[in-house]
Amino acid sequence: MSTPDPARTRPPSRLAEQLVRALCLTAVILPVLLLVGLIVDVTGQASERLSWDFITSFPSRHPDEAGILPGIVGSFWLIAMTGTVALPVGVGAAIYLEEYGGRGRLANLIEVNLANLAGVPSIIYGLLGLELFVRALGMGRSLAAGALAMALLVLPIVIMSSREALRTVPRTLREAGMALGATRWQVIRQVVLPMAMPGILTGAILAIARAIGEAAPLIILGAITYVGFLPDGPGSPFTVLPIQIFNWVSRPQPGFVVDAAAGIVVLLVTLLVLSGAAIYLRHRFERLREG
């Protein structure tokens, strides 16, 4: 984009070109407008239910008394546990592939596998979790089972974004570290990882955002229609924001549709806060790195 495109410097002449350009722009703008419209619509619907009460109450058979507290708490438990498992493993795998693996056969196998794993529909992870964690390992329909399945689901995302972050660290820095007598692991831990941290964190938050919005695998392996209490540990039954929304949206009474809309607003705000945190963290780390 640095050198001027000959076509771009030419004055926009033909009507046809203008038309096509407008059409293409419409293709970008229209879906975005639709999304904005949807969000405005949902927020409008939700406005009569959105209150502190909604956030701090339990689900109820009376739509105007229902709240989403167990969903919020469940979602936070779930992403905390998912992150605890997926981040170290994912970053570890990324380090292996970028720093140790090279062109080895094992690295190649992992590589091919990752590309395929990223394309597996999320519901399949639900089936895996149901059979492996819920049944075979006897965890039951617990937070732990849900978090493990979710960790496997987001693992490819964590690995891929961490790899990209690691790749941005200049090779010369590694060589400098080695030349100063550090072992490979010392270089990774003290030079490469801190440098790659903003990218890794951004990827981690992307993964967590994915986990927080995902409902399908959790429905398969742990859906309970009514949870009127808060989870108190990894062995506890649970519900999460999207599952609670799903329950409400599939009820026909208009009151519950309003609850669903309010739940969606809570979910979207949570995602917004997370993205904000990602941007802030990234910014802070970058300043730290420069400073």
Binding site: V85, L148, P194, G233, P234, S236, P237, Q253
Partner: protein, 326 residues
């Protein structure tokens, strides 16, 4: 960095520890029929408001609920029909005794889209013609059901096949449990059905009377002629038994062993004490007071076994009589 890694490791080990440790023990796990669900949900909500314990409710259908009860996975299960011989066997094999407690009457409502002006009533015979297995490739339009009805596509909605409502409907209408056509929208979640019928002009569906009364503004209920002329389902016609053949008692089955647990006993006691009020609130028909007294006595005495069941769905049974005889 080292601290971060250490935190990760600690977290992982804690996470796996938690995963392997025992589950939370003070939970009253409930499962079963979607028909009984609204009652159980209301009871659980009130129960937990008092901070008396924690209840989870799943909706696996009556059959699914019995399977879980007989595996010892839940403390009690809602059932919209009495236990079947095969399920009695299942529990016997697993050495799980159960206490059978009727909690309310329910009627099955047959509903159509509110704009459907042609259906004045349906006879049991017409319902059978729509729903029997042989109907699958023959009855596709309303005009196939009764002459003079419009040539509109017929879209059928019914509860999931694990539900007691489906069992009871097929028994009462087709004559054999679990026997129906397969090409209808079938969901364990009655809400899906209400939504389906209320947005589809060619639809006909059936589900518990409670769901109909909660959504009466979106649906039109069809009077059913069981031989004595068309009768609309209502609190009254269900309780006095005149809405036949589509009304019946519904139950909870409590595991005898689980009933020893304080929180389970407390929940069931609360259930029976608040049923008269909550059952009506969620749209079912409460049992007469003397019947509730009999039911409470049954639970207090921990009387196991079934007096209603053994043969699956029964058509037209009075709770008081059966309990008194049992």
């Amino acid at each position: 960095m080292r601290r971060a890694l250490a935190t990760f490791c600690l977290g992982v080990s804690l996470g796996s520890l938690g995963a392997c440790g025992p589950g939370t023990t003070d939970i009253v796990a409930v499962d079963g029929s979607s028909t009984v669900y609204p009652i159980t949900e209301a009871v659980a909500e009130e129960f937990q408001k008092g901070g008396r314990g924690r209840v989870t409710i799943g909706v696996s259908g009556t059959g699914g609920g019995f399977k879980k009860l007989c595996k010892g996975e839940v403390a009690l299960s809602g059932a919209s029909r009495p236990i079947r011989p095969s399920e009695v066997e299942l529990c016997k094999e697993a050495r799980i005794d159960y206490i059978e407690l009727p909690v309310a009457y329910d009627g099955i409502a047959v509903v159509v889209h509110p704009d459907n002006a042609w259906v004045d009533h349906l006879s049991v015979e017409e319902l059978r013609r729509m729903w029997e297995p042989a109907a699958q490739d023959r009855i596709k339009r309303w005009s196939d059901v009764r002459e003079g009805w419009p040539d509109t596509e017929l879209h059928l909605f019914g509860p999931g096949v694990d539900s007691g409502t489906y069992d009871y409907f097929t028994k009462a209408i087709v004559g054999q449990e679990h026997s129906s056509r397969g090409d209808f929208t079938s969901s364990e979640d009655d809400n899906v059905l209400v939504q389906g019928v209320s947005t589809d002009r060619g639809a006909l569906g059936f589900f518990g009377f409670a769901y109909y009364s909660e959504n009466a503004d979106k649906l039109r209920v069809v009077p059913v002629d069981g031989g004595a002329g068309p009768i609309l389902p209502s609190l009254q016609t269900v309780a006095d038994g005149s809405y036949q053949p589509l009304s019946r008692p519904i139950f909870i089955y409590v595991s005898r062993k689980e009933a020893e647990r304080g929180e389970v006993a407390a929940f069931v006691d609360f259930y029976l004490d608040s049923s008269a009020e909550l059952v009506a609130e969620v749209g079912y028909v409460p049992l007469p007071d003397p019947a509730y007294a009999l039911v409470r006595r049954r639970f207090a005495a921990k009387t196991t076994g079934s007096v209603f069941g053994g043969e699956g769905s029964k058509v037209g049974a009075s709770v008081e009589q059966t309990l008194a005889n049992g």
